[in-house]
């Protein structure tokens, strides 16, 4: 819930510069950029490609392939609602609706004041304590629609 120091793009890329014999790794680099900036802006593609010695198209191809890589900056807090089978069987869909109603945003969207982004996720491995909602790195289990407001309250 605290704001961490986030290194900039150049700083993040410095760690990913391939030093032989270590080969360049596009996915690893994009994950590092995302952890530094919160997302991977498409405007950063040329710079990433240049550091890795690959083409822009290769970077763009990897970026678009993986659903956990995002090109839009998320809200201050990322709410991910599990849509895996165990959570669905335990009415995770109702929890998702309650969250959307409470923060007033569509799936994939960011709230107006930039507080939350709401996404669906696949299984969090918390199936025995489902339905599951992940807020940033905090995992909440056995979530009911009625507790949604109190659950989100601490995330300002």
């Amino acid at each position: 819930m605290t704001t961490r120091h986030r290194p900039g793009l150049a700083e993040a890329l410095e760690y990913c510069r391939p030093v032989p014999p270590v080969k360049s790794n596009i996915l690893k680099t994009l994950l590092a950029v995302q952890s530094a900036l919160g997302h991977v802006p498409t405007s950063a593609i040329p710079q990433i490609a240049q550091v890795l010695g690959v083409t822009d198209a290769q970077v763009a191809g990897v970026l678009s392939y993986y659903s956990d890589l995002r090109t839009q900056s998320p809200g201050r807090h990322l709410i991910r609602v599990c849509m895996g089978e165990s959570c669905t069987a335990n009415h995770g869909g109702r929890v998702l609706r309650a969250i959307q109603d409470h923060v007033r945003v569509a799936v994939g969207g960011r709230t107006l004041e930039g507080r939350f982004t709401v996404e669906k996720m696949s299984c969090a491995g918390n199936c025995a304590v489902s339905p599951t909602v992940m807020i940033d790195e905090d995992l909440c289990g056995r979530v009911t629609p009625s507790e949604v407001p109190s659950l989100l309250e601490p995330y300002t």
């Binding site: 080969k23 996915l27 335990n90 009415h91 696949s122 299984c123 491995g125 918390n126 995992l139």
Partner: protein
């Protein structure tokens, strides 16, 4: 004041059930000292607090902060040995769960850890593979391929560089045993990977962990560092190092060739086999990709001998299976039992019946590509052969129970949409077929299906089964077709004529 030593699980699901809040609430209470262990896997009882007694541990279930006086006073606890959910299990791979502190290497060793590695050190590489051949262990990631055969190929393929890769993508919704192992007994996984490295002659290993498991990745990084500092990774001058790599939310990256593509940083697209990774895998070198649970099963096999392992289970399925019960049951959790119990027994003895107020409709075994079973088909034994015969899969051991509020057309649509989203796009039947399948189901949902819709779905399903390159497209029709087979009325309601 006397301090009572108590145990509370620190794994992701226990925390999600409230263990973290409990620990916070008690953090300044001098009467209690909390040891944070792994979870026993009886998640319906979490947060569960245990303490030592002269007759073993006692436990308090679903504990709230104001239960502290009862626990400190020793009032109302249940002996852990008498919890039916645990008592009826056979714990080998999960023997340490709920007992040890996951990141304590010394504790792992005190409880028999590293004996498998020691046994492997006294064997030749061929001897290790032979022990696995005798054990008849099959891979636990889904395909159930004999482990020794793969290892032998990698061992016999000449190469300067070889790799060991733990598949920790655990993509099947409803499964969590790999997560439990990484968070709860990480040194067992490391030990299994090291035994593999010795057998095939690998000097480097990777653990490919799904993005959704940040706590597991942290636990593994910490344990690897600890093992490195204890000079455990390079033992007997045999160099070996391990690295944790994170995926980025792609189901198909659990497929071994796609996983290796992803590990090299590319799009996780499935490649045609042969060549198999054991011959030509990561950067073109012989690579063993095995599931986390598979690796974690191996230390006991080396320590106790292949014959010990082969003496457990059924003809084609030796050893124990980690079943993970989820969905609308009263008692969701991890169950390690020898192969051979029926699905009905498992649900009855361990699942404990349905969650309050709900009635059974169907159960899905083996993740999103697994078949659905109605109540009349629950007498199937849990073993690879019986499932193969029924056209079903055990997969990674996920068991999800659906109640009578489940809409089967919507569920079938969910599975087709899942395949359409996750298809790597390499082959047409999967890439296009899944979209067509989803569209047909959406028409049925809207009440606009025609008499041909179901035939079309079945034809499409057969084509996908027969012509897809990997099991995503090849198995995707199964949950859909079994839903139609067992609940035809629901689908027919959406047909106009």
């Amino acid at each position: 004041m006397k301090t009572t030593r108590c145990y509370l699980a620190n794994d992701t699901s226990s925390r999600a059930a409230g263990a973290g809040r409990l620990a916070d609430a008690w953090s300044d209470r001098p009467e209690i000292q909390l040891i944070r262990t792994s979870s026993r896997g009886a998640f319906f009882l979490e947060p569960m607090v245990e303490r030592d007694t002269p007759n073993g541990r006692e436990a308090w279930f679903n504990v709230a902060p104001n239960d502290l006086p009862r626990i400190v006073g020793g009032v109302g606890g249940t002996p852990v040995a008498e919890i039916p959910f645990l008592q009826q299990q056979t714990r080998f791979t999960f023997a340490n769960f709920g007992i040890t502190e996951p990141l304590a290497l010394d504790e792992y060793q005190t409880r028999g850890g590293l004996k498998g590695l020691a046994a492997a050190q006294s064997l030749s590489p061929e001897g290790i593979v032979e022990a696995l051949r005798i054990s008849r262990l099959r891979g636990r990631g889904g395909a159930a391929f004999p482990v020794w055969k793969k290892w032998q190929v990698a061992q016999q393929t000449g190469s300067e560089q070889k790799y060991v890769v733990a598949n920790a993508d655990e993509g099947d919704a409803g499964t969590y045993c790999d997560r439990m192992i990484m968070e709860g007994d990480p040194f067992r996984l490391i030990e299994g990977m090291m035994i593999c490295a010795r057998a095939i002659g690998a000097t480097h290993g990777y653990l490919y962990c799904r993005y959704e498991y940040p706590a597991a990745a942290r636990a593994m990084k910490f344990s690897i560092q600890k093992a490195r500092e204890a000079d455990l990774l390079d033992c007997d001058d045999y160099p070996f190092d391990l690295e944790v790599v994170t995926g980025a939310g792609s189901y198909v990256c659990g497929e071994e060739t796609a996983l290796l593509e992803s590990l090299e940083g590319r799009r996780g697209v499935v490649l045609a086999k042969p060549p198999y990774p054991a011959e030509s895998g990561l950067y073109g070198n012989p690579t063993i990709v095995s599931n986390v649970l598979t690796f974690a099963t191996i230390p006991n096999i080396l320590a106790n001998g292949g014959a010990w392992h082969a003496s457990i289970g059924t003809e084609g399925s030796r050893g124990t299976m980690a079943l993970q019960i989820g969905g609308r049951v009263k008692q969701p959790g991890l169950v390690e039992v020898p192969f051979g119990l029926t699905l009905h027994d498992v649900l009855d003895r361990f699942g404990g019946g349905m969650a309050p107020g709900s009635r059974f409709k169907a159960v899905q075994v083996g993740g999103p590509l697994g078949s659905l079973f109605p109540e009349s088909q629950l007498d199937i034994p849990i073993c690879y052969d019986a499932f193969a015969e029924a056209g079903a899969i055990l997969g990674h051991g996920g068991i999800v129970v659906y109640d009578d509020e489940t809409n089967m057309v919507e569920l079938a649509r969910h599975f087709m949409a899942f395949t359409a989203d996750e298809s790597c796009g390499k082959c047409t039947p999967c890439r296009i077929g899944s979209v067509r399948g989803r569209e047909i189901l959406e028409r049925i949902q809207a009440g606009e299906g025609t008499a041909e819709s179901l035939d079309l779905l079945k034809d499409l399903g057969e084509t996908m089964k027969a012509t897809s390159l990997c099991a995503l497209g090849g198995r995707a029709p199964y949950p859909v077709l079994t839903a139609i087979e067992h609940f035809p009325e629901e689908f027919k309601k959406g047909l106009t004529h």
